[in-house]
């Protein structure tokens, strides 16, 4: 009961905003701002009115949502692997860092959506372009945070590793990586939200499927309810993905929260 109460408390603001939205839109009776209840019903019809055998999901989920999420996951994971791998190398090899730092700072200053035109030319409008765009766009926060993390590993931890003759690989995987993990995760969170943005942008620009495509198509055919339902769906997906990452982070970095909670001895 107390858990339920806390849940209500946490969601009270969301519910209140939803209620206000509902009241205002019903009174306004605007074509372009339909009542929230209508949007929710449409969203359910579109994606959650399928047979029980497929967990109530409609075929539209497989057609629109799944490809979007697939591209998002592929692009983001690619960026995670590249960002952490390169970040470790740049962070640990000082000479390499000296050469690469200015370049990294410059390239990351380019807004990723600006890369859509050249990528369209080189990679076409297919899935490949979208995955690469997401990967290139979101790799920077991961890369920079990993570099920072790898550079700021406590000297005492490194000395301990050396004093016990820890091998190179083990030092990397068992000392540097866990020590840098809190910073890396901060990068992962930022990059995940950027990945969602780039997913939508790429689907709106190079239209051949996905949630972004659905929203643009709906808007162009004056299917206002479908458009809002798509936007709502994006919000929900973004929230769920971030929550999922936070859960993983909470598990992986439980030690960090605990150690920090105690403060410095």
């Amino acid at each position: 009961m107390r858990g339920f109460g806390r849940l209500v408390e946490r969601w009270a603001v969301v519910l209140a905003v939803g209620a206000v939205w509902q009241l205002v839109t019903v009174r306004a009776d605007e074509v372009f701002f339909p009542p929230l209840s209508d949007i929710l019903v449409r969203a359910r019809d579109n994606w959650l009115s399928g047979p029980a055998s497929s967990l109530f999901l409609t075929p539209a989920v497989g057609a629109d949502v799944a490809p979007s999420l697939g591209r998002l996951a592929a692009g983001w994971l690619l960026a995670v692997v590249a960002g952490v791998g390169l970040g470790m190398a740049i962070g640990l090899i000082r000479d390499l860092g000296d050469y690469v730092d200015p370049l990294v700072e410059f390239v990351r200053a380019i807004p990723p959506p600006a890369l859509v035109p050249p990528f369209l030319v080189v990679l076409g409008i297919g899935t490949r372009m979208k995955v690469v765009l997401i990967a290139v766009g979101v790799v920077w926060p991961i890369l920079l945070n990993t570099i920072d993390g790898a550079r700021s590993v406590d000297q005492a931890a490194l000395d301990t590793g050396r004093a016990f003759r820890t091998g190179r690989v083990r030092r990397l995987t068992h000392i540097v990586l866990p020590a840098a993990a809190p910073k890396i995760f901060a990068g992962l969170r930022v990059s995940l939200s950027i990945a969602l943005i780039l997913m939508v942008i790429s689907e709106m620009v190079a239209a051949n499927g996905g949630i972004g495509f659905t929203i643009v198509t709906a808007q162009r055919s004056f299917a206002i309810l479908d458009m809002w339902a798509g936007i709502l769906l994006l919000g929900i997906l973004g929230y769920l993905l971030n929550t999922l990452l936070l859960v993983v982070e909470g598990r992986v970095l439980a030690w960090h929260r605990g150690a920090r909670g105690r403060g410095e001895p």
Partner: protein
């Protein structure tokens, strides 16, 4: 510099020129020497002013040697050189007669800063197990060693906790257990109890003596605490400052087992403490006591 025979006081010659490494063949080290430091010289970053210059002493099998000296005299640098964390020139440090090049296989270090030298992402047992990965041991053997080492420091019951969930004294016990599990020929402790409270410090001192008695480990312990050095050691090496050299080697012939109260009441303890204290004060460049007699603590036992 002569290696002191057991039970023989080396004269407190001070930073005499004669301490410089002899160009002729140095005297043969005692056969049971584990660690030989010979004419160690160390300067940071190419600085002309060495922190350590012409430092020589020996640690024998199963001996507990305390190095004591005023703060900033280069004690930590000495430990870092001996442990191979700082490079030294060939011939300056030998372990089992072999030149130390890089970090040796058979030394374990207990750092002063336990809070940073234990890995916060590993539980206590995993921290103790960490250095064992390269020992080529079977999993059950590793588990046995970890259990045994944690039992030796009285911490079996916190094996599944994280280091940061423990008090400072307990964390340093974990660090000692980790060094012990590694099975070193020589255990190096760098001001291990400098950041714990007095009671914990006394407990940890007794733990070191206990571990030494149970496992027969050879220990080199660096401290700035004169009482601690005399209480723990078989031999106290007093360092001078700027640059660090051996000011005197003082055998400590107090009976074992030692006791925080009874041992410190002994006349011999009081004398030794005074002797070491005067030397350290002299080394610190404080008021020089002319009569800082060395060897005033009664006859040295063999």
């Amino acid at each position: 510099m002569m290696a002191t025979e057991p039970g023989q006081r080396s004269p407190a010659s001070g930073p005499a020129a004669g301490d410089a490494p002899a160009p002729t063949t140095p005297p043969a080290p005692p056969t049971d020497a584990i660690l030989e430091v010979r004419g160690l010289r160390h300067a940071y970053g190419g600085s002309a002013e060495p922190v350590i210059d012409g430092l020589s002493f020996v640690v024998r099998q199963a001996e507990l040697v305390c190095v004591v000296g005023p703060s900033g005299c280069g004690k930590t640098t000495l430990i870092r050189c001996v442990s191979g964390l700082r490079p030294t020139e060939p011939g300056m440090i030998r372990l089992d007669g072999v030149d130390v090049r890089g970090v040796p296989d058979d030394t374990a270090v207990v750092f002063q800063d336990y809070g940073r030298s234990l890995f916060p992402w590993l539980r206590v047992a995993a921290n103790v197990d960490f250095p064992l990965s390269r020992r080529g041991l079977s999993r059950p053997e590793r588990r046995r060693r970890v259990g045994e080492s944690l039992a030796a420091v009285g911490l079996e019951h916190v094996a599944d906790r994280y280091p940061w969930q423990l008090s400072g004294g307990m964390q340093q016990r974990v660090a000692i257990a980790r060094a012990l599990a590694y099975g070193p020929r020589l255990m190096l402790l760098d001001e291990p109890f400098a950041s714990v409270d007095a009671q914990t410090r006394a407990d940890l001192e007794d733990l070191v003596l206990q571990v030494r008695a149970d496992f027969g480990v050879t220990i080199l312990l660096v401290t700035h605490d004169i009482d601690e050095s005399v209480y723990l050691a078989d031999r106290v090496v007093v360092l001078s400052r700027g640059p660090a050299r051996v000011l005197a080697e003082i055998p400590v012939d107090l009976p074992h087992p030692r006791d925080q109260i009874a041992t410190k009441e002994l006349d011999a303890f009081v004398h030794l403490r005074g002797e070491v204290g005067r030397l350290v004060r002299r080394a610190a460049g404080g008021s020089a006591v002319p009569g800082a007699t060395v060897g005033a603590a009664g006859p040295a036992a063999g």
